[in-house]
Symmetry: C2
Subunit: 363 residues, 2 copies
Amino acid sequence: MTRAYNFCAGPATLPAEVLQQAQEEMLDWRGTGMSVMEMSHRSDEFVAIAQTAEQDLRELAGISDDYAVLFMQGGASSQFATVPLNLMRGKSPADYVNTGIWSKKAIAEARRFGEVNVAASSEEQGFTTVPDQASWKTNPEAAYLHYTPNETIGGLEYDFIPDSGDVPLVADMSSSMLSRPLDISKFGLIYAGAQKNIGPSGLVVVIIRKDLLGHAQSGTPTMLDYKVIADNDSMYNTPATYSWYLAGLVFKWLKAQGGVAAMGEINKRKADKLYGYIDNSDFYANPIEPRFRSWMNVPFTLADDSLNSAFLKGAEERFLLNLKGHRTVGGMRASIYNAMPEAGVDALIDYMKAFEKERAGHE
Amino acid sequence: MTRAYNFCAGPATLPAEVLQQAQEEMLDWRGTGMSVMEMSHRSDEFVAIAQTAEQDLRELAGISDDYAVLFMQGGASSQFATVPLNLMRGKSPADYVNTGIWSKKAIAEARRFGEVNVAASSEEQGFTTVPDQASWKTNPEAAYLHYTPNETIGGLEYDFIPDSGDVPLVADMSSSMLSRPLDISKFGLIYAGAQKNIGPSGLVVVIIRKDLLGHAQSGTPTMLDYKVIADNDSMYNTPATYSWYLAGLVFKWLKAQGGVAAMGEINKRKADKLYGYIDNSDFYANPIEPRFRSWMNVPFTLADDSLNSAFLKGAEERFLLNLKGHRTVGGMRASIYNAMPEAGVDALIDYMKAFEKERAGHE
């Protein structure tokens, strides 16, 4: 068996150690005679697995008791509706910042449940930058302020936490959760689809300040009411138990790596290496304003688009997989989440050098 | 490693062969160098896994091209809202039949989205029977007629498919899907949480007649609009890929067993054995009218409730697990889904006999 370096944006590579443990425990979790996915979600064993995962996440991310942590289903796309359904609270508008495709999706869905004010947008700049916060047209009476700290497709990442004053700050952290230290206390709500830095798809983690619970609009499906989920410890119905367990294994792995502070250093080093090589090359390019370049998703183009398929073919031969850029952006994209080892980035750079040398005739 | 006989109502036991295959493929699916849970849902490999699973389900259940098959998230509890949101179609009321706790949950949630008519109920009979269809007060103008073919908690199962005339028939088949042959063409919509007969929790399969697509109420979250999910082959967003893959392995296993016709024979034999033993004993009892006894969930009581914990302790010592009845019903419950081998039922009966002999002084 050989493991590939998988640069997929999500579902994404997971730590080999996590998969090995899941493999060992697949048919018999610690002598119980059953797989975790066969356990009652109400059993002592599974409740312990679930609570340990939550506790480890709280420790890793520094989440205080002022916040509830929810393990929900439906991915971030469901949260695009769930957030306005729960947080509009009879107020108007909800402020949104538009910095890319995922921002736009969140905005389009929110408009179905209330008035949305796009407080700022970098669409005219091709989403290559984050608008200066001084220019944002936020509303002090807004229900909340929503932004997308890391745009998975565009490869754009905020290098600051917006100041929303007394308005609850809401963030889609699907592709940046746990990638570096973060002051959770600045947020009203954070949500993150699991399939990048947390675990398998089919799970979405929600961190919500408790005073924001209990305000769902009438007509909110019960399964999308944060208070119902919080009051039932995310077991109002059967949760995605196996995904929850795997997320717990990832949290343990993160703690063993030294937590998010250590991951942040490693992730910065990985990103710096890759962007550094791209910037020093005339053959590869990345269009994002340097201070807003994502540590997680690195899009890049080749000097000649007609070389794209040859680049991808050669990469696959070296087991460097899923480097094709998103269909709306083109070019390449290397997603280098927590579970992508630094050696994977080194292998990618080595290949990029070799390809450039061969195709561009560079020394 | 010893595998238990796990009688949990859900998440439930899975075929050992399925878990073994998942274990083997955990770190490297067929030489791809990655786990299925690390694959892009848009990759050729995963799309093939997904399509094969759908095709196998269509073959197993006999689902024609008049129906879309959707792989959604949120379990049956999400469907309790999704069904009225999509199928009310400006009509009123929706007819519901109340035969137990899961019917009642479906009814309570539907009332939040439209008028509900409870056309029949066996609540006064303690949910020990299914009301004779001749007595149902259905409305010929109803948006749909909803029923629960198998009540997982009560252990009550319809032995007929209701005749709903031109009104679409909707069924929560979470705990009876694929347990015996079924004429799908009689239904407008079937939904089934996966964690009993299909796979792990976090996945819900929906089979919907295509003419019922495209009628979602305004205010329906996009992720709950059946037409959006159908138009995008259940990949409007990232689906629960690993659960989908596991469901596909279960479908392959079912085909290898001979399909639902063979499973129906085995399931009937398993149920007949267990009910037969209960009926011939003065020590154990089941309250359900015999023709409506569930083949999947067999609740039973002991002659003396004070023996319950001793019964459960002895069962656990024999690795017969999760026999405790639902907290709302008490007593015991043996869930004997497709993946519970006949030998597991035999082992349970052997233990019940030994316990009865010891505690009741019977020969």
